[in-house]
């Protein structure tokens, strides 16, 4: 038998999860919600991809509080504290994905004889309409600071259950939440009455919900879902392009060539499969993704600021605080909060909460107390990284114990435990190389990218050479943390040497 008989306890926690999502959707879309009727299509201009036409029913969904709240969620978390122009939001990204989905569909249909397109292009019903709706809704499950908060709630038992369910096998936690938002009773009622009926659309929300997690009820149409959530999807193309644009990083990505060489192969596999006839644009995209990780997402100040947000969430949870009236006990609790509601010193009366929030707002960032890498650990041949990586991959409680040991080993403590944070980065997923087919000529059978050129091996080696773990702390505590962490890590047979303070820029 293949995967997982869902156990009784799992069923009841999923039911509770679905009920909570339905409650949240009801708050966002109350039955008496007044929506003005959209009279005409609209053109929305985007700084990255240019103008795009949205249909009336699409504008009606974009105008809902569920999507408008994405304007108040930063696309790249707290990266803007290090790269100040990274102020783009999930809303622009959503519009960009819609634009790219349209481009994917046009490209595929243009390859076919006139009037015999691959994808039915009616704008208010059928395949294309469902794909556009999935693009609009694909990120509705994000909460404050995007992946920064996702890294906190992903550890909740209900999310951990989903992540080992084959149906959600390659999904991120926010995608699972988006999926359940679309499937919720309240959203269906709203969509049936206020969208499908009002605008005479015929969009099947079951298909939309499945596309958000990269699936399609009709297996032969899985390629359509892969344009939304697949190895080289519209989501990825947009965020790589958009993020590099707003970070000010120049990356080479020939999207024109990518679309020029995109095809649907209906013969080589057991179902229609998207392939790209030239490996060059795919290699560029993978290199660009790797560059973004090493230059931006794994930058030590970016990691420090995201660690501070995690420390803040931990403080809120451990002290049973309410932030803007909400606790952070369950993943769905995070949905109620957007960036400005969390980073609001008046969101709670607690003095330490105010101090932690003001530190982020005023960019009083944590510093490196210890840097852990091959150069700063004496016994690197003992695979020391494994113990630390394991702690970060098993559960936050295991890292919490190590942090507590370091904290209580400090002789002077001018901070709280939630300001001593351990960051153990993981390498980015490079599944694109292992799951995307390409070929160098029409006659050649398509092969996986990494068979033609093992991009993932090169990139993984590059990433592991640059791997750094950190213990972050307030600047005034750097020397104390260095001493205490060396003692505690020494007991784990991780012998930090005198190059670590140099890496930390300690005097």
């Amino acid at each position: 038998m293949t995967k997982n008989v869902v156990k009784k306890e799992e069923l009841s926690s999923r039911k509770e999860f679905e009920d909570r999502i339905n409650d949240w959707v009801t708050v966002q879309l109350p039955p008496d919600l007044k929506q003005y009727k959209v009279k005409d299509r609209k053109v929305i201009h985007d700084s990255v991809w240019g103008s795009h036409v949205f249909q009336k029913h699409e504008i009606a969904v974009l105008d809902t509080p569920i999507i408008q709240r994405l304007r108040r969620i930063s696309q790249t978390g707290l990266v803007y504290l290090t790269f100040p122009s990274a102020t783009h939001t999930r809303f622009e990204h959503t519009l960009g994905v819609c634009n790219l989905v349209s481009r994917f569909v046009r490209t595929l249909n243009d390859r076919r004889p006139f009037n015999k397109g691959i994808i039915d292009c009616s704008t208010d019903k059928g395949e294309y309409a469902e794909m556009k709706m999935a693009a609009i809704l694909h990120d509705c499950g994000h909460s404050f600071f995007s992946h920064a908060s996702e890294d906190v709630y992903k550890w909740h038992p209900v999310m951990q259950e989903f992540l080992i369910d084959d149906h959600f096998a390659h999904c991120k936690p926010h995608e699972i939440i988006s999926h359940y938002i679309v499937k919720s009773k309240r959203f269906r009622d709203f969509f049936d009455n206020c969208i499908n009926k009002e605008y005479k659309a015929e969009i099947n929300l079951d298909v939309v919900a499945e596309m958000i997690i990269g699936r399609h009820p009709d297996e032969k149409k899985t390629f359509q879902a892969e344009i939304i959530n697949g190895p080289f999807d519209a989501d990825k193309l947009d965020y790589i392009f958009r993020d590099s644009f707003f970070f000010g990083i120049t990356l080479t990505m020939d999207t024109e060539r990518l679309f020029y060489t995109l095809e649907l192969d209906e013969e080589s596999f057991d179902r229609p499969y998207l392939i790209v006839r030239s490996p060059v644009p795919l290699e560029q995209i993978l290199f660009s993704k790797m560059m973004l990780y090493t230059s931006i997402y794994h930058h030590q100040k970016v990691r420090a600021s995201e660690s501070m947000l995690k420390g803040l969430c931990e403080y809120i949870k451990h002290n049973n605080l309410k932030v803007s009236g909400r606790t952070l006990e369950h993943p769905v609790d995070f949905l109620y909060l957007t960036d400005e509601q969390v980073l609001n010193p008046n969101a709670s009366d607690d003095k330490t909460f105010k101090r932690l929030v003001n530190n982020i707002l005023d960019r009083v960032l944590l510093h490196r107390g210890v840097v852990i890498c091959k150069d700063t650990v004496n016994n690197f041949e003992d695979c020391f990284e494994y113990k630390l990586v394991k702690l970060s991959r098993s559960s936050p409680n295991d890292l919490l114990k190590l942090r507590s040991d370091i904290f209580y080993a400090m002789k002077e403590k001018d901070c709280i435990l939630q300001e001593i944070l351990i960051d153990i980065p993981q390498l980015p997923s490079l599944r694109e190389a292992a799951q995307t087919y390409t070929s160098v000529s029409l006659e050649q059978t398509p092969e996986l990218i990494n068979k033609i050129f093992p991009v993932d091996g090169w990139l993984r080696a590059y990433g592991s050479r640059k791997w750094r773990g950190h213990v972050f702390c307030p600047e005034s505590m750097q020397k104390e943390v260095d001493k205490a962490a060396r003692k505690v890590l020494g007991k784990m047979n991780i012998k930090v040497n005198d190059r670590s303070p140099l890496y930390c820029h300690m005097n």
Partner: protein, 129 residues
């Protein structure tokens, strides 16, 4: 501390009689997909998507990345076609990971190692110490 997927895969590599194994993700993922279905130890640790042309597991990919960061396995430069289980890595696994498992779990891991060797193992000389 209890074990996680990285420990189980580390155990499989420890009991493997080969030093080299394929870098082809299709072969690796298909092998562990079969092992997941046959051995209870794996069932709560791995999920596979079957949307792709072969079953693919995000958790397995992360584990291979982790084992590479930690230098338990390495890939041969410049071809990057094969992984090597490093001798230092095996020593570490034997000392720090194998004691986490009980008798029954070790039995499953040893059986999985045999299947792994048959499907993924490769002949050849070690390329890194």
């Amino acid at each position: 501390m209890s074990f996680i997927l990285d420990d189980v895969i580390g155990g499989v590599l420890y009991f493997s009689k080969k030093t080299l194994f394929t870098g082809d993700p299709k072969v690796i993922h298909e092998t562990f997909y079969e092992l997941r279905d046959r051995y209870p130890l794996m069932q709560s640790l791995l999920a596979f998507t079957k949307n792709s042309v072969y079953p693919f597991s995000k958790q397995l990919e992360e584990t291979l990345n982790t084992l590479q960061i930690c230098r338990i396995i390495g890939m041969e430069n410049p071809d990057f076609e094969r992984y090597q289980i490093k001798s230092g890595g095996k020593k570490f696994i034997g000392k720090d990971i194998i004691p986490l498992f009980d008798k029954n779990q070790l039995k499953q891991i040893k059986e999985m190692a045999k299947v792994f060797d048959k499907k993924c193992g490769q002949k050849g000389r070690a390329f890194q110490s």
